[in-house]
Amino acid sequence: MMFKTCSVRLVAIFTLLVSSPLIADELSAFDKMNGQLNIAGGTAHIPVMKKAARQIMGHNPKIHITIAGGGSGVGVQQVAKGLVDIGNTGRALKNKEMNLGLNSFPFAIDGVAVIIHPQNPVDDLSQQQIIEIYQGKITNWRELGGQDRQIHLFSRDEASGTRSVFSKKLLKGAQLAANANIVPSNGAMKTAVSQDMGAIGYSSVGYIDNMVKAPRYNHIMPTQEACASGEYPVVRRLYMNTKGVPNALTQAFIDYIYSEQGAKHIQSSGYIALDAQP
C-alpha cells in the first residue's frame, strides 16, 4: 500500500518534471509578472480571451485579468481612452480610429452566419432569400419551404462588428426592415433565437452549437473549414487593439494568443487562428 502511494507520487513528480518545461514554455513568459490586465469590447472574442485568461491566471495568480463585453464600438472607445489595456473589435479599425494611435493585432478569422431554431426544417437559404427576409419582403417560413409560421427578425445593435460584417458582406447594404428586433450581444442573439421557433438571426460562427442551427448559405455549410478555405465568404478578422506600444504584460498576453496554445484556444472556440503579423 505504502509502496503503491509512493510510486504513484514518484511517477507524478517524474511526469511533472519531464512535462513541465513543455507545458510551461508558453506560460513561462508570465512567471515574474504581476498586475492587472483589462480587456473589453467585441463579444465574439470573449470565449478565446476567457480560456487564455484562465490558463494565465492559473499559472501565475499574481496576474489578474478582467474581461468585459460591450461590442466592438466599446472596445475602440475604451482602449483609446486608456480605460482598458486591450480593446477587441470584430472589424478593422476605421481611419478615424487609427488616428487615435491604436495598434491592431488580428488573431483569428471568424465567419458570420445566419442562425435559426434547431427544429426549423429549413436548411438551405440563398443570399437573395436572406436579403429579402431581412428587407421584410419574405415574412413566412412557408415561402422558404418551412412550416406556416411568421418569421421573427433579429438583428444586432448599431455598434456591433458582427452587424457591420453581416450588413456589408451578406446583405450588400440592403435596407433592414424596421420591425427587426435588436439584441445587444452574440450571446443574447443565441438565447433569443434558440427560444423562438420562428426566429432568424445571425451570429459569429464560434457561437453556433446545438442550441441553434445554421442553415447552408448558397449550399455552403458555414463551418470553420469553409471559412478558412474562403469557400464561405461572409468572414471577418477578429482584432485585439492596444493604444500605442503595449506594456510588458499586455505584450505577453498578445504573444500568448499568437502561440501554439493560443491557437488551440482559438480553435476550440470555433475560430481559425492567424499567425502574428511581422
Binding site: H152, Q175, A178, N181
Partner: protein, 292 residues
Amino acid sequence: MQSHKLTLKQNSWMQALLMTLVVTSGLLLFAVFCFLIWFSLPVFFTETTSVFSLKWQPEQGHFGILAMVFGTLSLAFISTSVAFIIALGLNSFCLLSRRRWLVALLRSLLRFMAAIPTVVYGLAALFLLLPLLRNGLQLGSGYSLFAAVCMLILLILPVICVMLDNITTPLWQQYALGAQALGFSPEQTYMQVILPHCRVNIGGAALLGFNRAIGDTMLPLMLAGNATQLPSGVFDAIRSLTAHIALVIATDQGGEAYNSLFASGILLLMCSACICLLSRYLMGRHRLEQPE
C-alpha cells in the same frame, strides 16, 4: 453660556457647509443641462441631419429618433394609466378593508416591490412572460410593447401606491369619523370626500410614476424588442429613448448615430424635469389647501 456660543458657531458653520453643498449640486445639474444643450445644438440646427424623422437606418444614413420618442411616450402612458387604476384600487382596499393583517401584508409587499432591481423583473419576464406570449398566445416573437408595459406596471405600482397611501391615510383619519356621523358609508367617504379632496396630489403621484416609466432603461431594452418602428398595436416591438441610448452609446464618437444620443438625452432630461417640477408644484399645493 460657553457651550451655547459654541453651538451657535457650529450652527453657522454647518449652515455654510450645507449652503455650499446646495449651490454645488444646483450648479452641477445646471452644468448637465448646459452640456447637453451645447452638444445637441449642432444636431438640431444642421440641415443635413434628420433627427426629427421616423426613419432610423444607420447603414443608409437616416438617423431619425421620432419613432423612439413615440415608443417612450406610448410605453409610459399605457403603463402609468393601468398602474394608476390598480393603485387606486389597492389604496381603497388599504383604507377600507376590515382584514387589517391583509392590509399590513399588502403594504409591506409594496414596499418590498419598490426595492426589487428592474433587471430581475426583466430576466423573469424573459423566461416566463415572453415564452407565454410567443408559444402560448402566438403573438409574434413576444418582444413587444405589451411585455415591457406589463413589467413597467410592476415597477411603478409601488411608487404610486406608497405615495397615494401617504396622501390619503392622514386624510382618512381626519375625516372618516365625521363622514360616518353624517351618514356616509366608508365607500362613499372614499369616493366623495377623500378622493376629491386630494385630486391634485393624486395627479402628482401619477406624474411621478410616469417619470419613473419614462426613465427606465433595463425593461424596454430587454423586453420591448428595440425595433425602430411605429407600433401598429401593443404586440409590436418598439424602442424607447433610454434603450436607444444604451444601444447606440458604443458607436464611434462624432458619428451621426452618436450625435443622435445627445438629442435623445436632452429630450429625456427636459421631459423628466418638466414632469418633476409639475408634480412638485401639485404636491406642494396640498399643504396650502389643507384646512386647519
